[in-house]
Amino acid sequence: MTLEDNFNFHSKEYIFSNDNFLSKERENIFNKIKLKDFDKKNNESLKNISFSDLSLFNYCYHSTDEDPNIILQDKYIYKINIVNGVCKNYEDENIEIRNVTNLDSKKFADQNGNNIDDLVIDFNKIFLNSGIFINVKKNSKLKLDLLHTTYKNYTIFQNNIFTFQDNCEVELQDEFNLSNNTINNINYNIQVNNKSVVKHNVFQNFSNSNKLYLTTNTVCEKDSSFSQNTYNFANGFVRNFHYVELNGEFANATLNGCFFLKDKNLCSNKTHIVHNSENCESNQTYKGILNDYAKANYFSNTFVSKNAQKTEGYQLSKGILLTDHCSFFSKPELRIFADDVKCSHGSTIGPVDESALYYLRSRGINKNEAMKMLIASFIEDDLKNLNENIANKINQNLSDYLSSLR
């Protein structure tokens, strides 16, 4: 179906179709996309995505009748099922969870990250059909496991707003259980208030007919900390775009990612950290392994505004290409307007270390085994400090990936 058909046929189904301001904005974005009134060539949001992939699809969405479970495992572990973008409304002394309603339009109009120039977010805005609010109350110490389930052929355009009030300590985990032929355009707006510590683990593994566009916009206030690890083992298409703004002093943010691609997998990654305040620290590290005909890109950007003195910002990207047919593009940017800073980036792309391979083989390890050992060691650092559950999952996926290597 064309973009226009999708937009017109379903316009009543979208959230906030009652809100004049948002409807108008939708209209504007739609026109911009329809007229292709944007820079197509240098558009980072379109890297490794064809515009037609993004715009030609069959819009399919019905809200579910069933009420997905929230299971409290132990006292502070919440297993939250999200089916086709919808979860159960729930509240206790630590947390408030609810689905978006038409009354929330103002919250959406005012959310952070609305100004990010990104076509995928534009699509999210015009086709928005679901959203979840999570408000973690002050001083709470929780673990939230989110499992996203999407039915066959469904197209999810979801915008979630998560707020972590002062002095929380939360481990947030996202997993995806996608059926076939689904599109999942999920945009998170995450607010980390003073002194809160949020760890976000994202685990991606699904079959090749599915597409996931995951975007997070995080704002960190004073003395807060946000660290994110994404692990992409998916056969389908994944776009991981993660933005952070450090708005309060002494905040820190870490955006890490690993991806393991094979066949004709595509994957587009971006991390972007803006330092708006003094004495903040950021780290961006992405590592990727590409096999067969896989193709990936990684944009990283550290932006230090004029008043963000005493910033430390570090970036690192490493890519390993296993065949002659895969390719990796990386663009690590530093944009710096304050002078008292320590910023750096490093980027390497190449094969596995030949001399290490030689060394291992000289000790009698066969080439394939040696290769696997080296790849495993490549991401070893990233597997530290993970909880057992996710570490096991990653190890399992890693060994599956490695056993598929020829």
């Binding site: 002659d324 990386s330 690590p332 710096i336 980036h345 792309i349």
Partner: protein, 483 residues
């Protein structure tokens, strides 16, 4: 920021440009603006053959259709291409002077003031100079000596007459006129520049040098340089530039093409010190330069070294296309921006052949209200087996009104190739300043010493005579004092 740093900064901000004088000399120039007639006028002035004129006219047609490149991190008012003189020559240059006695003494004096004596006996041992004044080449020294070795070193206008087969074959072969709008513009209106041909297996015994000078007001300078190093040859080429101090902006859009055949090596060094504008950002040269080298043959090597301290805007990316197997490309750059200067500079290394290697060392220093961007593109194409790249770009910020930006594009399509990229941005290390001052150096001397140390990896790539000059230039760009 401590008081000392502020003081030193203020001093830097008052930096004055010592090459800002104007030579009063009658210029022969047609009306402003660009159209086919002007191109025909230039071509006629230079007595060019028909093929050259039609090449220019084709380029002009391309230019009309091409938008200006937008990628750079620079801001400036739209250039009115109809408000520029495209040709200016000191009067009496219809025919190139045969020897220096025919050159206006005022011109010779100008070059003397710039520290480029043209009289051969005074020329630094081992440097042959081609001096370009506005649009024409004034004199080429040491020509006779070079001729004995079969080396051709002359102005490009002369080469069109004397070596048309080489010019025809190679002009535009590395930078096609339709590459982007500035290359099309240059191809249409280029007025002069240098031509070098080094025959097979000849190692050029001296540094070849061009000195560019923009003198006339509202004049664009569009020189074109073409250097061909035949099999097994070697040449080292130096380029220097200055312009008078004027309130209006002047456009400089040069094209430089290098071709290295099998086993040949070209070393190209630039010290760019065009007028940067005043401390409020008024005036200065817009330097939109395209430089590209083709390592055409196996085992060839092209090395770019640049020290960029001048110009209101610097937009240049000396690049290497590494086509021949085992060929090597290098880029060494120091870019210093002060006041309201903007620099967007870097390189492009395109690895096509097997075992090709490239190395990029870039040092950016931003002061005052300036913006300094490194933009580099390293790509390995599918056939670039075992290719290697190493990139290091470091930025130094002095003061919190300036910006330093590092924007690399890294693309690998070959799994046996290795790219390594490192970059850092920081301010001047306080511990180093303390150490130097504890040994009795004042703040300004200490800054200059540390910055020169920071740039050393690049400066040491320059030929000896130039390295000392460049070192001074770096200090001058930082200090208030002008020697």
């Amino acid at each position: 920021m401590d008081i000392e740093t502020t003081k030193t900064l203020d001093k830097y901000a008052k930096d004055k440009y010592k090459y800002g004088f104007v030579t009063n000399i009658d210029a022969d120039r047609p009306n402003k603006g660009l159209d086919e007639d002007i191109i025909k006028f230039i071509s006629k002035k230079k007595n060019e053959p028909e093929w050259m004129l039609s090449w220019r006219l084709n380029s002009y047609k391309k230019w009309l259709k091409l938008p200006n490149p937008q990628w750079a991190n620079i801001k400036f008012p739209k250039i009115d291409f109809q408000d520029i003189y495209y040709y200016s020559a000191p009067k009496g240059f219809e025919k190139k002077p045969k020897d220096l006695s025919e050159v206006d003494p005022k011109l010779i004096e100008t070059y003397n003031k710039l520290g480029i004596p043209l009289e051969e006996q005074k020329v630094l041992a081992g440097v042959a100079v081609d001096a370009v004044f506005d649009s024409v080449s004034v004199a080429t020294t040491y020509k006779g000596e070079l001729e004995k070795l079969g080396i051709v070193f002359c102005s490009i206008s002369e080469a069109v007459q004397t070596h048309p087969e080489l010019v025809k074959k190679y002009l535009g072969s590395v930078i096609p006129p339709g590459d982007h709008s500035y290359s099309a513009l240059n191809s249409a209106v280029f007025t002069d520049g240098s031509f070098v041909y080094i025959p097979e297996n000849v190692k050029c015994p001296m540094e070849l040098s061009t000195y560019f000078r923009i003198n006339a007001e509202e004049t664009g300078q569009f020189e074109r340089t073409l250097i061909i190093a035949d099999k097994g040859s070697y040449v080292s080429y130096l380029e220097g530039c200055t312009a008078p101090q004027r309130d209006s902006n002047q456009l400089h859009a040069a094209n430089v093409e290098l071709i290295a055949l099998e086993d040949a090596e070209i070393k190209y060094s630039t010290v760019q010190n065009w007028y940067p504008g005043d401390e409020h950002g008024k005036g200065g040269i817009y330097n939109f330069v395209t430089k590209r080298g083709l390592c055409k043959g196996k085992n060839s090597k092209i090395s770019w070294t640049q020290v960029e301290t001048g110009s209101a805007i610097t937009w240049k990316y000396p690049s290497c296309i590494l086509k021949g197997d085992n060929s090597i490309g290098e880029f060494y750059s120091v870019a210093i921006t002060n006041n309201y200067q903007q620099a967007d500079t870097g390189t492009k290394m395109t690895h096509i052949g097997k075992n090709t290697r490239s190395k990029i060392i870039s040092k950016g220093i931003s002061l005052g209200n300036s913006q300094n961007t490194y933009r580099g593109n390293v790509s390995f194409l599918r056939k670039a087996e075992k290719a290697r790249n190493y990139t290091q770009c470091d930025s130094l910020l002095v003061g919190n009104k300036c910006g330093a930006h590092t924007i690399p594009y890294i693309d690998s399509k070959n799994n046996s190739a290795v790219i390594e990229h490192e970059a850092s941005t920081s301010k001047i290390n306080e511990d180093q300043l303390y150490y130097c001052r504890q040994r009795g150096l004042n703040h300004e001397e200490a800054v200059s010493l540390i910055v020169n140390g920071f740039c050393k990896q690049v400066l040491q790539e320059l030929p000896m005579e130039f390295a000392v000059e460049a070192q001074k230039l770096v200090s001058i760009s930082l200090e208030g004092s002008v020697g």
